[in-house]
């Protein structure tokens, strides 16, 4: 009779062995063993990073059906908010359930031979050597570094218990794998620093932390074997070694994954989770349309910036994109393809220009039943210019802008702006949005609202333009656009918001970005090669301790990596 082993108990035991986040025993491998190490940040991995890691380890066939813990936006980016996140008890249950599901799939009798690097001597009994080989192989992928002897031993022990109870080697291995997948060292990126041999009293990120920063920035995935090897050898601490890895990462098609993840974050695509449209006003809206819109924008971004290596600012003016049947209906154009997606270029008469005139931006940043020049304008400033707009006062009277059955939104906003407290922000936020008013709350072309011809002229800081094409040109020429991208890429990579100490760096990088033609892949590589990308800000209060088996990592106070 099979004995049931409490998976929760075993996993909890495994976590206890490793000490949990912040008490992680760190592998001491690499060319130069540090005297002391300091934890500078923990960043919870995102859903896409989790998925990519599992895909890299076991292939795309593994189904990942789970609801992930919500992420948190800080300083304009989820990547920054990830540094503040923990996991709730209910969230851990989700991760645990998912881990069991993955283990079951990986070690299904039909496919397990492709995943397990060895055969047990007796399939009905534990096999410590085979378990160790399995745990070491996948543990390094998940932890982004080699496991310590203690971490391996804990899983081997878990597998022993499981195999003995079930009289099945693979049942034990499932428990070991599950334990790895719920370990905090997997679910959190633990960034650590070590004394810099070249600069006494200074710290540098250790090789594995550098590797992870690079890999997540370029590929949105855990470091592959080659990158981990470069970390282990110390090559990432050398210019030649770092340049070689950056060139390799840049040349990979997986750059597309990295670009998708970055722009999903920067463009606030989590708003798709809550998008809702009044079917009376926008009957064409559906979940299929929302999903298609999201994918359209990502395909456009990746195609223009990564595949074609075009000028970043072309995002605001290029009409080259991709559509499918659902989007063709919303854009009211024929879909001339038998494939699921097809390249498409909006004609001039479409009045569209760039990603701001795609369904994604136009529908995400509108009301459920109406367009919103204010929301659109606010988001243009916030997302693409890094200029957040203050929240409106709590007692503001919205009644005049909510009378949707009269006139155009411009006239309603003018009435609303009679309140001087509102006007100061609206004067800045609204003009770009008003230029987009030929597109309704779903992104469909229109020329009238309530029977009145819509005026799409706008003026910002003395610059006059008309409609989406005019706005596109205005944005394309605005220096804040590339500077904001540089700021976001850097903050995304290092996991903290920029501050006044970074301004010179951002300015220099923006200048270099322009000198290279505003190419996004160049920008990623350019930032990754700067010392600032790996710069360590030792948390105040951190107490470095010497490593040893097991080494304790100094604790950083909350938010210290900010």
């Amino acid at each position: 009779m099979r004995k049931r082993i409490s998976l929760a108990l075993l996993a909890a035991a495994a976590v206890a062995v490793s000490g949990g986040v912040g008490m992680t025993a760190l592998a001491q491998s690499g060319a130069a063993a540090p005297a002391t190490i300091v934890k500078v940040a923990t960043r919870r991995i995102t859903e896409s990073q989790y998925r990519n890691t599992i895909r890299d380890a076991f292939g795309p066939e593994i189904k990942i059906n789970a609801r992930f813990e919500p992420e948190k936006r800080e300083g304009g980016l989820m990547a920054i908010g990830a540094s503040d996140l923990s996991i709730t008890s209910s969230g851990f249950e989700q991760y645990f359930s998912l881990a069991k599901s993955i283990s079951d799939q990986v070690l299904d009798p039909k496919v397990r031979d492709t995943h397990v690097p060895c055969k047990p001597a007796d399939a009905k009994k534990a096999d410590d050597a085979c378990t160790k080989a399995f745990v070491e192989k996948y543990g390094e992928m998940f932890y982004r570094r080699p496991l310590t002897a203690g971490e391996v031993a804990a899983r081997v022990k878990t597998a022993q218990l499981g195999a003995a109870g079930a009289e099945d080697f693979y049942a034990g291995l499932k428990l070991a794998l599950t334990s790895l997948l719920v370990a905090p060292e997997f679910m959190f990126r633990v960034e650590t620093a070590e004394p810099d041999p070249a600069n006494p009293k200074q710290y540098r990120l250790d090789g594995y932390t550098k590797a992870a920063r690079l890999s997540y920035l370029f590929w949105d995935a855990a470091p592959d074997a080659e990158l981990r090897a470069a970390a282990a050898s110390g090559a990432l601490h050398t210019k030649a070694g770092l340049d070689a890895q950056i060139a390799r990462l840049q040349a990979s098609p997986r750059m597309q994954d990295g670009a998708r993840a970055f722009f999903i974050d920067m463009m606030q695509f989590e708003a798709f989770d809550g998008i809702n449209k009044d079917p009376a006003n926008y009957p064409k809206f559906s979940q299929a349309v929302a999903d298609s819109a999201r994918e359209q924008t990502l395909k456009t971004v990746v195609d223009l910036l990564v595949t074609k290596k075009r000028d970043y600012r072309d995002l605001f003016s290029s009409n080259e994109t991709f559509i499918n049947r659902h989007l063709a209906s919303v854009y009211n154009v024929p879909y001339a393809s038998a494939q699921e997606w097809a390249p498409y270029t909006f004609p001039a008469e479409s009045q569209r220009a760039g990603i701001l005139t795609q369904v994604t931006f136009l529908s995400l940043f509108s009301h459920p039943g109406a367009s919103s020049p204010t929301k659109r304008g606010v988001k243009i400033h916030e997302i693409f210019m890094c200029e957040p707009t203050p929240e409106p006062p709590a007692d503001v009277d919205f009644s005049k802008v909510q009378a949707l059955d009269k006139g155009t939104v411009r006239t309603r906003l003018l009435a609303h702006m009679e309140n001087e407290g509102c006007a100061s922000c609206h004067r800045v936020s609204d003009p770009p949005g008003l230029a987009l008013e030929h597109f309704d709350g779903l992104g469909q072309l229109r020329t009238k609202e309530n029977g009145t011809v819509i005026d799409v002229s706008a003026e910002v800081e003395g610059k006059k333009f008309t409609g989406a094409p005019g706005l596109a040109k205005y944005l394309r020429d605005d220096k804040r656009i590339p500077q904001c991208l540089v700021r976001n890429v850097y903050a995304y990579g290092v996991g903290r918001p920029t501050d006044e100490r970074d301004e010179d760096y951002i300015a220099d990088q923006t200048k270099a970005f322009g000198a290279k033609g505003y190419k996004y892949p160049e920008l990623i590589g350019q930032i990754a090669t700067t010392p600032e990308f790996f710069k360590v800000r030792v948390p105040s209060g951190a107490t470095p301790v010497p490593p040893g088996p097991p080494a304790k990592i100094a604790q950083a106070p909350a938010g210290a990596n900010r």
Binding site: A280, S329, V330, P334, Y335, A336
Partner: protein, 431 residues
């Protein structure tokens, strides 16, 4: 005008390059059918089965419903047997076998579904008695037939007369069980029909030379946020060697009517008999200001496939759910059949009209390369038709034989009476 392709020099040139063999119209308008059903009028002011000008007694067999125990007793079963056969606890009334015993109520226990004349007409299946009907004047005779709601005389729609009081077809527009069943199937993606109209004149609304085609499409309908079929989607034409209906017509003030009857057309049918043959077929459509298209496709359809279609849909189930004795349907269709393909021959066809609602859509050539240039025949592009082996019996469909459900491998379990088709017939499909 929306989705009207004008013959500009640029477009003409580009289309010529793309498909030099196709004719190009001066204008083309395209739609996808979002609903179609037999053109029946519900004559009551309320409800879905109430008495009305069409059916003064209300929907047939609605009050009272058929007492199937009584029917079975009259067919020769003892009351105990009949009660048991209709008892929901009877395991032979399982979802697999339905109420198969209901088939064997004909003379000498004949299966009434395949021998409808072995069972007498009930007298309760009444025809439509009103004078008003929707449809088309098929024979050009204004002195026969119904009067349309707009006052047009000579409307030929004996299908409505024969079956218009049957629950399957009687209800306000879009609410009859038949219309709901087959349109739900279409709207959920089972099949799609597109409509293409094109003309040679400058004004689509007034053009003496219009061609209108109805074609299959491989692309599914898509519902919008309100559950309706979404406008402006794109559909390819799927060439079909058989199911294609192309009409010669004219347009006057947006109304497209046939200029000649088409001897024979075929199209997908919203019914169990999936292929609809129409002889002397005509159309009467109106292009609405909102871009939609509404109207009729009419002609004489063979009536026997209608009856067979309902039998093959599991006769006992249809009878129980739709308040009908299927032989009554046979008798009614036979009685009101009004067209003989061979002059002086048997009236194998009955006048009929489909009411069609279509919404604006983009319709592409079969290869999806461009929008269609004109309503024309695509049969030449259809895959070669593999000659079908004529079935030994029309009464075989899916898991149904002779109108009743058989188990896997053709087995029929019947208790307490071993009332089942002979094994040889199940195997051969003949009796």
């Amino acid at each position: 005008m929306k989705r009207t392709v004008l013959k500009t020099a640029f477009l003409a040139a580009s289309l010529f390059i793309a498909a030099p063999t196709l004719a190009h119209a001066a204008w083309t308008k395209t739609w996808v059918i979002e609903w179609f059903e037999p053109a029946h009028i519900y004559g009551a002011k309320t409800g879905v089965i109430d008495p009305g000008t069409d059916c003064p007694a209300g929907t047939n067999n609605s009050k009272p419903e058929i007492d199937w125990v009584d029917v079975m007793v009259k067919a020769g079963y003892t009351r105990e047997e009949a009660v048991w056969l209709r008892d929901p606890a009877n395991p032979t009334r399982s979802p697999v076998n339905g109420q198969n015993q209901m088939a064997f109520r004909g003379k000498d226990r004949a299966n009434v579904y395949i021998n409808p004349t072995s069972f007498p007409e009930s007298g309760n299946f009444l025809p439509v008695s009103g004078t008003q009907a929707e449809g088309i004047n098929l024979d050009g005779n204004a002195t026969t037939g119904f009067v349309s709601p707009a006052g047009e005389k000579g409307i030929d729609n004996n299908f409505y007369k024969a079956l218009g009081c049957w629950k399957t077809y009687r209800a306000p527009e879009r609410l009859s069980s038949g219309a709901l069943q087959f349109n739900d199937t279409m709207r959920n993606g089972s099949y799609t029909l597109v409509v293409v109209a094109s003309g040679e004149g400058k004004d689509p609304m007034n053009d003496p030379n219009v061609t209108l085609g109805i074609y299959n499409s491989p692309d599914k309908l898509v519902k919008d946020g309100a559950g309706n079929i979404s406008r402006d989607y794109t559909f390819r034409i799927k060439p079909d060697a058989k199911l294609e209906a192309v009409f010669k017509a004219k347009s006057v003030k947006g109304r497209i009517t046939s200029t000649e009857a088409m001897d024979e057309v075929w199209m997908r049918n919203p019914g169990y008999d999936r292929e609809l043959q129409l002889l002397k077929a005509r159309i009467d459509f109106t292009m609405k200001e909102d871009g939609t298209l509404r109207g009729y496709v009419g002609g004489y359809r063979p009536w026997m496939p209608v009856y067979v279609g309902w039998v093959n849909a599991r006769g006992p189930v249809i009878e129980s759910l739709t308040w009908v004795s299927l032989p009554d349907v046979y008798y009614a269709l036979q009685r009101y059949a009004d067209y003989a393909p061979t002059p002086g021959g048997e009236r194998t066809h009955i006048s009929f009209a489909l009411r069609v609602d279509a919404i604006p859509a983009y319709v592409m050539k079969p290869d999806a390369s461009t929008t269609v240039a004109a309503a024309t025949s695509y049969k030449a592009q259809a895959p070669a038709v593999v000659a079908a082996v004529a079935p030994a019996s029309p009464y075989r469909a899916g898991g149904t034989v002779d109108g009743i459900v058989v188990g896997r491998g053709g087995a029929v379990s019947q208790t307490p009476d071993q009332l089942r088709p002979p094994a040889a017939r199940i195997a051969a499909g003949t009796q």
